[in-house]
């Protein structure tokens, strides 16, 4: 007679069984499998700590920190362009930390003067172009921003939303630094009107999409183009705009009021180490720890023309530029 009730309880109990345990919660802008690499290595080095992480695009990650403030669901923010960290620091969402080992070796441009964030890698905005497409149309890979406005690429380019993705915003800001605010935004409008197949919320997706052939060109960070397309065997060729391109300093920071501040520092220190940053090889990232080994195919600053990128200005104007962008493009 009561078996149905027992059944219900059993069903409910299946769930309740797995709650809580002392763990470190991380928000990361690394893609899941990449984050998994670092997390696993970290857990090997620190068997007493278990890491739970959520992957979010940098913009979405910042949005979440704002939404959850002052009781964030994680203690550490791993990766994502420094501008988003700068905004978060300005809004009081971060905790300064200068005691980390890596603090000494970082150049001035790769760390926050007040210690709110530290750089852990750099990368450059580039074009991932599908080789089959180029062959079919007898084209060379684009080497200029203006190439994207050519009719061959009409509605065949994918790129990230500036407001959801750090990659997307770095692209927008780079164009603003390159052409001036008005011209830069106008150029983005033209891209939206003539070139864009669709926008993505994730910054690395355009590289893979170019690989899949869903689009002809994807705009993404160099390390993502290599890791997500070229390195996997997709028919993709990487190129950079000759006018100059933007770059990011990927950063790490402590989240204010995070539930596990001490554990977070352990991970922070480990991430600054040469040992950790050597793991970038698998993902073609450029480390900022001079002692870390760099993958020979990884693109370094010497190989591309860079715009004069002002991280603080970019950070300060992120919301304003994003709003203007949306007004202008309608996306």
């Amino acid at each position: 007679m009561r078996r149905w009730a027992v059944g219900l309880c059993a069903l409910a109990l299946v769930g309740v069984s797995a709650l809580g345990q002392e763990v470190l919660n991380i928000y990361t802008a690394f893609d899941v499998d990449q984050a998994q690499t670092y997390v696993e290595e970290f857990e090997n080095a620190h068997p007493d700590i278990r890491v739970e992480f959520v992957r979010l695009s940098a913009g979405a990650l910042l949005a979440r920190l704002r939404a959850e403030h002052p009781r964030p669901g994680a203690s550490l923010w791993l990766a994502g362009p420094s501008d988003t960290h700068i905004i978060a620091a300005a809004e009081g969402l971060l905790e300064p930390y200068t005691a980390s080992l890596g603090w000494q070796y970082l150049p001035e441009w790769a760390k926050c003067p007040d210690g709110y964030w530290s750089g852990i890698y750099t990368g450059f905005i580039g074009f991932a172009t599908n080789k089959d497409f180029l062959e079919e149309h007898g084209l060379e890979p684009p080497t200029s921003w203006y190439d994207l406005l050519e009719p061959e690429y009409e509605f065949k380019v994918s790129m990230a939303y500036p407001y959801t993705s750090g990659t997307g915003y770095t692209r927008l800001a780079s164009l603003v630094f390159l052409l001036g605010e008005e011209e830069g935004l106008e150029f983005e409008r033209k891209l939206a009107e003539h070139a864009v197949h669709h926008y993505t919320s994730s910054g690395s997706a355009p590289a893979t999409e170019a690989g899949l052939g869903e689009v002809a060109v994807g705009i993404a960070f160099s390390h993502d183009i290599v890791a997500r397309a070229v390195g996997l065997g997709y028919p993709v060729v990487m190129s950079f705009p000759k006018e100059g391109t933007g770059y990011e300093v990927g950063a790490i920071s402590l989240i204010k009021n995070g539930p596990e501040p001490e554990l977070a520092k352990v991970f922070y220190d480990w991430m600054m180490s040469a040992e950790a940053q050597t793991l970038y090889q698998e993902w073609y990232r450029v480390p900022l720890n001079p002692a870390a080994e760099v993958h020979p195919e990884a693109v370094t600053a010497a190989e591309v023309t860079l715009v004069d990128y002002d991280f603080v200005w970019a950070a300060d104007n992120r919301d304003r530029l994003s709003d203007l962008w949306q007004e202008l493009t309608g996306f």
Binding site: V14, V54, G73
Partner: protein, 580 residues
């Protein structure tokens, strides 16, 4: 209840009632409540739950859209009426998409329903099973499959290109209409099958007798009789299409819709007022549709039913039509199976587009890195399902069998989420439960609450249907013999509806496991779900792995349906010994 058996005498002149009699109802019900502590307690709890988890979040969305940060600021609405493209475009796009999908989905659903219910095509059981498949899988499975098949480098696209040199783009409106039609036509099918079965065959036969041709009969008799059902299906599909989030975010391309824009505004840039405004823009048409359905369409719907369907060997269609319909159904089912087959195939490929060698890697990933997503989803859905099922029956029992002040209001409020798109519910939860006293963001509780309360209207509707099978005299006997509310509900009502409840739970579990649009707003580091993982992988263009998630989700749902099915049949067979 009184409405049924008792034919009431004609209305008396309301003027003849004394004031005391006019207020007597509420007064009497209130005094009754004071004496019925069990009922009072349950009511207080239920009302508190509904107020907290249904009304409050929705209120917060309204508040945020015009009173962000406590000050009146309707900027976004002003911008909308000024014609700002980032608000106007998605609004009209959503309406256009909804209208198209309502049409195509109803046509496909009607074809299925007519072929199965009226034309008696061979293999109707198989067709019905195929038609229910999309209801138990995450909606954006269709979009994923569409990319694999028809994307710019999809399997079919490539073949066509190689043979005919033609290329197309599936992204945007055409792809959305295709995928949403395939994903949601079963809703129309389910609604119309019942309507078509209920039409008395003798009506059609009478038309034949009077010399009408088959086509004429269909146009002049069958269609008008099914019209209210068709109307309902159109409206329902319109609303579902408007609320869909999964397909547009995967395959929308340049075609922006409200759900995706609201999602991006909030998760992407934390622009709550903008997100809330988009949510309201989404809510207005859906609410209107439900008002139309409730107060206009429902009044016309009683034309159809003339009692029990009379079994008849004469069918409304000749052999030619039957085979034509059979062919159409085979084609449509083939498309559905092809889409699902593509997902399964994709799940076993190394790297979609480059290396199609078969591998288990994606599943290894799902069960290693993604194991906790899997566990979370199954656990939370398993907890939410019985809670939601029982709560649904409890509320149905309260509003259909009990008398208390505010009964109609409770009925309305608890059914309200039916008209509220999932993404709006999600935004409401995000806004409502991020501050004390109910800070739930980041917890499992908020996901459970979304699961339970987003599905509650369906659970209540199902509960009410189950209760109709239970003679009111049974639960009245229990309280008559002295049992309080809880005992009557727990010992008499629940055991009686248990088999039906378990059947309903399978569907509820499926919708929890496959849901995305509301939960995507409230998942957290600790509590990630499979559908969100699938979404992230699609977002990252990792199609093979996304397909693997899709396969796992469908497998979980099928397993749950199977387990509950076994449970119910065992329960019923034990009942059988009791003479049921």
């Amino acid at each position: 209840m009184w409405g049924g058996k008792l034919r009431l005498p004609p209305t008396s002149d309301p003027g003849s009632l004394t004031m005391r009699e006019r207020i007597g109802r509420t007064g009497g019900e209130l005094r009754r409540l004071a004496h019925d502590r069990g009922l009072l307690l349950v009511l207080v709890v239920v009302v508190a739950l509904v107020a907290t988890f249904v009304v409050f979040p929705l209120f917060q969305v309204f508040r945020e859209s015009i009173f962000p940060r406590g000050q009146f600021d309707a900027t976004h609405f002003v911008r909308f009426f000024q014609g700002a493209p980032f608000l106007i475009t998605p609004f009209f796009n959503s309406l256009i998409l909804g209208g198209l999908v309502a049409l195509t989905g109803t046509v496909v659903g009607f074809t299925f329903a007519f072929a199965i219910a009226r034309a008696n095509v061979p293999g109707s059981r198989v067709f019905r099973w195929i038609a229910t498949l999309p209801m138990i899988s995450p909606p954006f499975i269709m979009a994923l499959a569409a990319i694999l098949l028809l994307g710019n480098r999809g399997m079919i696209t490539q073949v066509i290109h190689n043979v005919f040199g033609v290329r197309w783009s599936i992204y945007g409106l055409p792809g959305l209409v295709l995928t949403q039609t395939l994903a949601y036509f079963p809703v129309a099918f389910m609604a119309l099958e019942g309507v078509l079965r209920a039409i008395d065959r003798s009506t059609e036969e009478a038309a034949f007798d009077l010399g009408a041709s088959k086509l004429r009969t269909f146009v002049k008799v069958t269609l008008p009789l099914a019209a209210p059902g068709i109307g309902a299906a159109l409206l329902l599909l319109f609303v579902i299409s408007l609320g869909d989030f999964g397909n547009p975010i995967v395959i929308g391309g340049r075609f922006q819709v409200l759900t995706v824009q609201a999602y991006l505004a909030i998760t992407g840039r934390y622009n709550m007022p903008l997100g809330a405004t988009l949510a309201i823009l989404l809510l207005v048409p859906t609410a209107l549709v439900f008002i139309v359905q409730r107060y206009w369409l429902s009044r016309r719907s009683h034309v159809t039913v003339t009692g029990r369907p009379t079994p008849s060997t004469a069918h409304a269609s000749g052999p030619l039509l039957r085979w034509v319909l059979f062919g159409v159904l085979c084609f449509l089912s083939g498309v559905i199976l092809l889409f699902y087959g593509m997902v399964v195939y994709g799940a076993f490929t190394h790297l979609w587009g480059v290396n199609h060698a078969l591998t288990m890697d994606n599943f290894r990933y799902v069960f290693s890195v993604g194991r906790r997503y899997f566990m979370n989803t199954v656990q939370l859905a398993a907890i939410a399902t019985p809670i939601g099922g029982i709560l649904g029956i409890l509320i149905a029992f309260l509003v259909t069998r009990k008398r208390f002040p505010g009964r109609k209001t409770l009925d309305f409020l608890s059914m309200m989420n039916f008209a509220v798109p999932g993404i709006v519910v999600g935004i409401g939860y995000l806004l409502a439960f991020n501050a004390p006293p109910l800070r739930l963001t980041g917890t499992a509780a908020i996901i459970l609450a979304v699961f339970v309360f987003q599905r509650m209207p369906v659970a209540i509707r199902d509960g009410a249907a189950m209760l109709q099978q239970v003679d009111a005299a049974i639960d009245e006997s229990a309280s008559d013999l002295g049992a309080g509310f809880m005992r009557t509900f727990g010992r008499i009502v629940l055991p009686l509806v248990a088999p039906a409840m378990f059947s309903g739970m399978a569907y509820m579990f499926a919708t929890c496991v496959t849901s995305i649009s509301a939960v995507v707003m409230v998942v957290s580091a600790r509590w990630q779900l499979m559908t969100v993982a699938l979404l992230n992988d699609v977002d990252n263009a990792q199609l093979s792995r996304a397909a693997a998630w899709g396969v796992v989700i469908i497998a979980v749902v099928l397993a749950a349906i199977f387990v509950l099915d076994v449970l119910v049949s065992r329960l019923l067979s034990r009942r059988g010994s009791h003479g049921r």
